[in-house]
Amino acid sequence: MPQSYDYDESSETWPFFILAVLCVVLVPLTAMQLWELVSGKKSEQHLKDQASILGEMSEQYASREILEFRAKAMAKKSKWLAKRNLFIIAGWTVVAYLVQYIGSNEEIQDAATLLFDPYALLDISTSSTDREVRSAYRKLSVKFHPDKLSKDLSSEQRSVLEEQYVLITKAYKSLTDEITRENYLKYGHPDGPQAISHGIALPKFLVDSSASTIMILTYIALLGLVLPYFVSRWWSRTQSVTKKGIHVKSASYFSDRLFNYKPSQVVTLDLIIEWLSHAEEFKLMFPELNEKTFETLLHDQINRKHSGNLETAKLRIVAKSNVLLFGLLDIATTFRNLEISNMTIDTLKAVVQATPISPYSQLLQLPNVNAESLTEGSVDDIRTIGKLFTYEDAKIGKILGIDDSTKLQETLSVASSIPHLKLIRAEFKVPGESVVTPQSMPHISLKVLVRSAKHKFFPPNLIPDEMCQDKDDFESLKDPFASLLEQPKLPQTFAPYYPGKRSGCWCALVVLQKDGKVIQTPMLVDRLSFENLNKDFDKRTVKNLDEEFKPEDWVIGSIKIPFSQPAPEEKGDFFFRVIVKSTEYFGTDLDFTLSLSVRDPSPVEQMEKEAADEASESDEDDSELDENDDSNDESDEEESDYTDIDTDTDDEEPEAGRVSDTKAEGDSAEN
């Protein structure tokens, strides 16, 4: 143990120390920055990929205030990026300087050359044989042997060369002589253990006399105050935000609301807005405002009302609502509450479209619509975009109360570009199996067609099965969800009143029909092709569906919903309600019942499978699809000879009593 420490008087170690510290910080930061740059480009690219009329119109119809707000948000982000860039550049400059300094500093060079490397000294490769070592040594010793040196060298040069000779001899010995070699391998030097010095990578003036107190204080401050401060701040930050990105207090509040929710209460938009207005995030953003104000502001957003001098505050809390509502949705689905989950997504729609929930929301979300003439003027009760497109353009103008023809054209182009989902096929699928066997792990596989409300209706069976098949290769068997990533990201939403560009998603909820409750947290669908929307398959002009419809013209989208639990142990049919709900537009959702038919694999299939393990299994797949189609579409099923029980009370009374007895316990407790 050496009793004293060397200080870095010759400044040979501390540059390395600083270099190491800098690299630890700079390398990940730079990588992060580069990654963000690339992914940012990508996300911009995707907006361009699926550029649709919706995004264009969204920009066109946005008010000046909204556009300014969006621009400001972008600027803020880029400013922050600029600061980070500056830091990265400065950091690398220091690194470059240090490297240069180390390279030019002789002391450091000397220290480096003192390291003993016999192979380098003999100028041979590390894999050289004994013979090669010997020949290299002989050659060099001839050159450097003191007796062979030329006489006219100065004494200084002579001593350098002599030293070199000693080193060469040592190197040779270390590779040939047993003991020396062992020394070299063990201690890194042929002479045995070298003196080890522990140094402090600080220049001596910092440790000397008067500066030493400052140094100690700095150490204490660093280790005792600064480090704990940052660690605790980081910790409290991670503790204050849930995994879903909302404040824990907001999450607690939402959970309380769900926990105290009385089933007799009706879930309305106002209720969700009231809950939302208690979010901790809003309080942190605007400590001077209270919940009531936030509630009013959110209602202002939905009713397209200007909030006066609180307009910017309104836009900021609206922008924050998105993540909060998703947090609430997660909590509501975990509490298995379907009503609240549905209303939460509807609230998001209302906020995004700045349109209250009413029977006419579908039409009121369109631009230029005159609400009064819509509800009072029309004779026919029109509530959907699809119904709207059964009328001639001029009549539509009248219904919506739009006189200006360019405005009407814009309204119509938005209306026809709003994506409606149409279900083509739906099934529970176990990768590599033709049926869902007991306790297998199925997922819900949907084939959908993104269509415009303007398009002529056609039954899903016009789309041939071949177009609805997934690839059956090894990759998709291994990860059936991977293929979804091949679909393009959703384009920008038409949302001129929303304070940001957004593309949104569809939320897929799965509900157990037996008790009418949600069984898993929502799956978000953010990739689907909107290509079909560019098609002009106008329901007013298409007369002969069979002639004019060409299935190959249409793009079929794929949605796969992971199923949170394995298939039941016992065979039978289990029914689930699947709701695929858009977060962006009213009237574009899917809602249907799907049966999970748990069966034993049929013996024929098993034999086939054994026989044709490697051959293509397309035939089998076809039959399987047909089979599943039948079970999905109840209305198409043949009428059974079952006679209706409408005998009322007597038969059902005891059963009802029994059911309610067991169920009521839980139910009443809920109330």
């Binding site: 699809g386 119904k387 049966s595 009802a656 059911v659 009521a664």
Partner: protein, 196 residues
């Protein structure tokens, strides 16, 4: 919370509690206690049991049967009134501790009849809310789904109607009436969406 109760008033004569301008929850609790007090005052046995009281049962039954008689005479409005009265009586006369299973069954039975009377008279919203009540108290027979779908169709809530009829079919896949309603609703929904 206790501070908000400082306004609690107690009437020594009527033995009833009152909290003026109280929140919904307080009001509800005060009502519940007052109901319990009234029930206790008319109960002389200190060790009362959940056993249902026969006199209440008989009276409610009589009122209800009155309604059924009127129904047979095609007096729909009167029949509904009688059934409403029977339900009202059950709410008032039954003590809070009489067996829940009995009270639930009695109420559900009367409500089912009220639903039919409402449907006949075109009171679809009344029927729908009664059906919601029945469903929420654990009655999920096909009958309830059939009537619920019917009311929703009449109220032009086709999307809700679809959810109800599909759930009904999930629980009873072979029910012919539900299937007919499903087809009808699908047709109406297509028309509503202009998909014909």
């Amino acid at each position: 919370m206790a501070t908000s109760l400082s306004a609690l008033q107690y009437d020594t004569n009527s033995k009833l509690l009152d909290v003026p301008d109280a929140s919904e929850d307080i009001e509800m609790n005060v009502k519940q206690i007052n109901k319990l007090t009234q029930d206790l005052v008319s109960e002389n046995n200190p060790n009362f049991t959940p056993q249902p009281r026969d006199d209440s049962t008989a009276m409610i039954k009589k009122l209800f049967e009155n309604g059924l008689k009127q129904l047979q005479q095609q007096k729909m409005a009167e029949a509904l009134k009688s059934v409403n009265l029977a339900i009202e009586m059950a709410q008032r006369k039954r003590t809070s501790w009489e067996a829940f299973a009995v009270q639930l069954q009695e109420l559900q039975f009367m409500m089912k009849n009220r639903v039919d009377l409402c449907l006949v008279q075109g009171k679809f919203m009344d029927a729908l809310q009664d059906l919601d009540f029945l469903q929420n108290t654990g009655l999920t027979t096909s009958d309830v789904f059939i009537r619920k779908t019917d009311s929703l169709l009449k109220l032009k809530q086709y999307e809700q109607a679809r959810a109800e009829v599909e759930r009904g079919l999930s629980l009873d896949p072979t029910n012919a009436k539900l299937r007919v309603l499903h087809i009808e609703n699908t047709r109406k929904l297509a028309e509503y969406n202009g998909d014909v």
